[in-house]
Amino acid sequence: MPYRYGVALVALVVGGAMAFPACGSSSATSPSSTAPRTAWGDPDLQGVWRYEGTIPLERPARLGDRASLTEQEVAEQQKLEQEQSANRLAGREGAAVGRRSVGESPIRGNEYNSFWQDHGRPRQVSARTSLIVDPPDGRLPFTADARKAEARSAARYGVGPFESYLDPDTGERCLTDGVTGMMWQGPNGGHNRIVQSPGFVTILHEEYRDRRVIPVDGRPHQNIRQWFGDAVGRWEGDTLIVDTTNFVDRTNYEWASIWTRPSESLHLVERFKRIDSNTMEYTITVEDPTTFTRPWTAVIPISRLSADTQIYEYACHEGNYAMPNLLRGGRIDAARTTSSR
């Protein structure tokens, strides 16, 4: 009995401390904050979120050093979005609905036929010319080696050769498309559900059923490398800051979008800041000397979808009929090449 009583008291102390971890800092930094809170007092980021904007990751080369579009350009873009949206709803295909090549696609996966994307409405147009805000030219600061690798992998993507299951990219293997784009990309829509519980923020990314259970209870980094690294979160005012290290790179070939490639030297810092009830400013700072000459930062406005939005089961590996078919095709190709030698 005394033991049991002691356990209950310990639980109380821990529970009480966990209920108000952010009170001090939040009142210091934003005394008039009206950001929604969870029942236990953390800023509330819950809901289903998705990037619905048109801003590309990198500034298109034709825009040079222009950080903003003109009013006229924004109006034209808006008109285009309206037209493409109407065409999508009418079931049209191809360029009319904004289908782009892999290289041009601002959203990974938009190279697919557009019916995979549920753009039931026009995307949000902005005057910004790139999600990347640093470096100021809005371009990824690739090392020379990474740039070569990007060219090689872009040439291979969707082309092959596919000699074994290690040759398709990690998405096609139903593993993941990586953490860097998880909150705002996805071949089938890029929906993310954030669920909070005391001490944890969990992000469920629909594609590949990627899941990150991020502790925000003050525990340190662990010493285990994982595909999604080792995330540690903390609240700074109303902003969630997630620091992730300890990534692995077991990808056999260079990813089609090589900037999403994790390497062991990747250090990712994310900031989640709700700026109104339906918009979150999501900021990523990527530091990885293996791939980039300097850290870079992108600011991504993501939207909260209606409260009844669900994310659904993504049984990718369970139904990966594409993999054996791709490999059988690759084998026939290989045999043909060999016999012609």
Binding site: A19, Q196, P198, L204, P215
Partner: protein
């Protein structure tokens, strides 16, 4: 929000003072601590300590998951009456004692699974073809209730309107909807789960399953008519009693129940980690299909 700890104090004191132990060893009237919004608090990392994933029914120890009878003995006369044991199939023999199956009392109420006759025959056939058929081997999502008693932890992450069951195996997550939610658009591996509180017990109704998952490594199976009602009842700060009622009129003659305790993992830094087993099974599933098998580096002919 600020009332939360006060409620918790009251509840914990009630729990501490009222806890007594029944003859079965279970506290008879444990009251769980409350979350900040007043629900029973089931947050934590949980795991079973049993052999249900090998076989939900009672089973003796055996040398391997896939066994074959020993050949009749033809050696020295006089020794032929030595009792021979079944042997692991050749693929599993190098594992030795590591590959053995521990005995278990089973978790099925009454130890009987009320199969229809055709279904009992299919269960036996599944067991004989375990190595080719068990979805666990292929890293497929384990379904419900199997996800609960696989030998991996899972975490209950409890929010106000939804509860997540985040399983380590194959990175599978169930969302338990506490609010009114529409119907599932299609059958799925982990089903469509709606939760409610019955006193301190979380009751989860799960429907809309496909027919791909199993209950264990013994070939116990179900159809797409499966319905599972789970009950998670806190019985101490470190234990939940887990009970699941299985109903599937296509396969069973009546509903049946399983029951087992879940244990709180309170190791330092207890948490679920990645077990992305897809990459562990690619060679098994696709190694022979492509032009080159990475396991050998050789060209497949």
């Amino acid at each position: 929000m600020r009332a939360g700890p006060r409620v918790a104090v009251t509840m914990a004191l009630v729990a501490a003072l009222s806890a007594c132990t029944s003859s079965t060893g279970q506290p008879a009237s444990y009251v769980a601590p409350r979350t900040a919004d007043g629900a029973p608090d089931l947050n934590g990392v949980w795991q079973t300590l049993n052999t249900a994933n090998y076989d939900i029914q009672a089973h003796p120890a055996r040398p391997a998951l896939a066994i074959m009878p020993a050949a009749p003995r033809t050696g020295t006369p006089g020794l032929v009456r030595a009792t021979h044991t079944d042997l692991p199939v050749p693929a599993l023999r190098p594992l030795g004692a590591v590959g053995g199956v521990p005995a278990g009392a089973g978790v099925v109420e009454g130890d009987e699974i009320p199969y229809q006759p055709w279904a009992l025959a299919k269960k036996k056939e599944n067991a004989e073809h375990w190595l080719e058929r068990d979805p666990e081997i292929k890293c497929f999502m384990p379904g419900v209730p199997r996800a609960t008693y696989m030998p991996y932890p899972f975490q209950i992450l409890q929010s106000t309107n939804a509860i997540l069951m985040a399983y380590e195996f194959a990175g599978t997550t169930r969302t338990i909807h506490l609010e009114k939610v529409g119907n599932s658009p299609s059958p799925s591996w982990m089903g469509w789960s709606r939760g409610r509180w019955d006193g301190d017990t979380l009751v989860v109704d799960t429907t809309d399953f496909n027919e791909e998952t199993w209950f264990d490594r013994a070939g116990n199976f179900h159809s797409d008519a499966l319905k599972v009602v789970e009950r998670y009842t806190p019985v101490s700060p470190y234990h939940l009693m887990y009970e699941a009622t299985i109903e599937d009129p296509k396969v069973f003659t009546r509903p049946w129940k399983i029951r087992m305790p879940l244990y709180r993992r309170f190791d330092a830094d207890a948490r679920i980690r990645e077990y992305k087993c897809v990459e562990f099974v690619e060679q098994l599933m696709y190694g022979q299909v492509g032009a080159i098998d990475p396991a050998t580096g050789t060209v497949n002919r």
